[in-house]
Amino acid sequence: MKAPESYISADEIASRIPDGALIGVPKEDGGVAMEVTRALVRRNARNLRLLTVPVSSMQADMLIGAGCLSEIETSGVSMGEFGYAPSFRRAVQDGTIVIRDATCPALYAELQASEKGSPFQPLRGIIGSDVLANRADWKVIDNPFAEGGSDPIVLLPAVRPDVALFHARYGDRYGNVWVGPKRECVLLAHASASTFVTVEEIWDGNLMEDERMLAGTIPPVYVDAVAHAERGAWPLSLANCYERDGKHLQSYVKAAKTPEGFTDYLKQHVYGEQAAA
């Protein structure tokens, strides 16, 4: 089915994400907008700050390798069974990127506070870790509901990304996008100032009017622009649509181990004529 006329392209989305923006993105299997990620590299984006919800793989690594990021807040960047994330590791070791180490539920809590317009959310745990010791923006208070004795608890501040960016399974001509059970994408859209989405397929009909699709649909009040990008998560997976391209990921990890190899990879797969070959 043809994309609605209101849809823009992945490159147009990239051009609407300004340098310096704080971008929230889902984890590897959550619907990663890789086509827009490549477009950000192509448009030579700079000083972006990435908030991974709560972890990332190739998306973060590629943006770091291409010099698009000045900062990353994350609970982990890894290529999973393909090994460590080469550009991430290099940049942190060389001190060329600011890293804000977090732990998964703390990142959800920061977004949930933003979703509610609350200044903070409490979270158990974390106390005594160097994660907490290195986060001046996280606070510890005494639980006011504790009975007898001190009961320290961490408060996470609300974090409102400038942009939520993800890839969804369906979009319709009314501006709805369907993420199914990927609640992280719903959270990201609710918590962020603006939301850009690529969709794999065009849904014939109104997703908000289909009782079965409704629970997994994000309505247009939260969505600023949609692009149609077939295989838009490639080489990562899209649930119930395609698996990740393990061979390609392996070759990426191998290439990215050196800056030269990474540059060659970009030439071939990002600047090349056909990215999603």
Partner: protein, 243 residues
């Protein structure tokens, strides 16, 4: 009876999961995942295995926060963690070695450890490489502390540490590991040589108990099939699955 190291570890972990109603297993964990599925099979589902990355063996559907919400409620009884470094107090380091934030070697990051180590009653540390590089006297970065002072709300914590040489149990009162059993071929001396932290040791340290025949049979049939959905190569190469 013949068995492999993987089968031994699966059975050893399964024993540690006795009585756990909800067992969660994170990514890249085929051996813990097999153990969780084994316990699920042995209990007729009274113990429930939740394998991250599995479409079938994951009874949850409400997105990333759900595991942490459930753990916070006390609804996750057992979980597995690793560590780039682990020290004698069971502090774990998933972040980096050397100075922070510009380290010598950067690992992926703390993931959910700084939360789950506090909330899950039985956290089993699983780290196969048994070396002084990994098992250090003091970790360079505490992703999650092995123990907390009184007054810090902490229903959870470390339970055991499994390596390629041995199994340690963790003493929560004394914040120390105690050697519990040796893997086939490993010696106490070898463990001492390759461990950078001090640990307790009973006088007569013996081998880890061999797999029970009924469990071995299950592993070769149902468990191999079940784990093959998430870890096909592991099932094929390590458990001999030919499905």
């Amino acid at each position: 009876m013949e068995y492999t190291r993987e089968e031994l570890l699966i059975c050893a972990i399964a024993r540690m999961l006795d009585g756990c109603k909800n067992i969660a297993v994170g990514t890249a964990s085929p051996i813990p995942g097999s153990a969780a599925l084994l316990v699920q099979a042995l209990t007729g589902g009274a113990s429930r295995a939740s394998i991250l990355g599995s479409d079938i063996h994951n009874p949850f559907n409400d997105g990333g926060p759900e595991l942490f919400d459930r753990a916070g409620q006390g609804r996750v009884d057992a979980f597995f963690l690793g560590g780039g470094q682990i020290d004698g107090e069971a502090n774990i380091n998933l972040v980096s070695t050397g100075p922070y934030p510009e380290p010598d070697t950067r690992f992926p990051g703390s993931f959910g450890s700084a939360y789950l180590y506090f909330s899950v009653p039985r956290v089993i540390l699983f780290r196969e490489e048994h070396s002084r590089r990994v098992f250090v006297d003091k970790v360079d970065f505490i992703s999650a502390p092995g123990w907390s002072p009184p007054g810090v709300h902490r229903p959870g914590g470390p339970y055991a540490l499994i390596t390629s040489l041995c199994i340690f149990r963790y003493d929560r009162e004394r914040h120390r590991f105690r050697l519990d059993g040796l893997l086939p071929g490993a010696t106490l001396e070898e463990v001492r040589d390759n461990t950078g932290f001090d640990f307790d040791c009973p006088d007569n340290i013996g081998p880890v108990a061999a797999p029970e025949p009924d469990k071995l049979a299950l592993i070769h049939s149902r468990i191999a099939e079940e784990i093959s959905e998430t870890y096909p190569e592991f099932a094929r190469n390590r458990l001999g699955w030919q499905g």
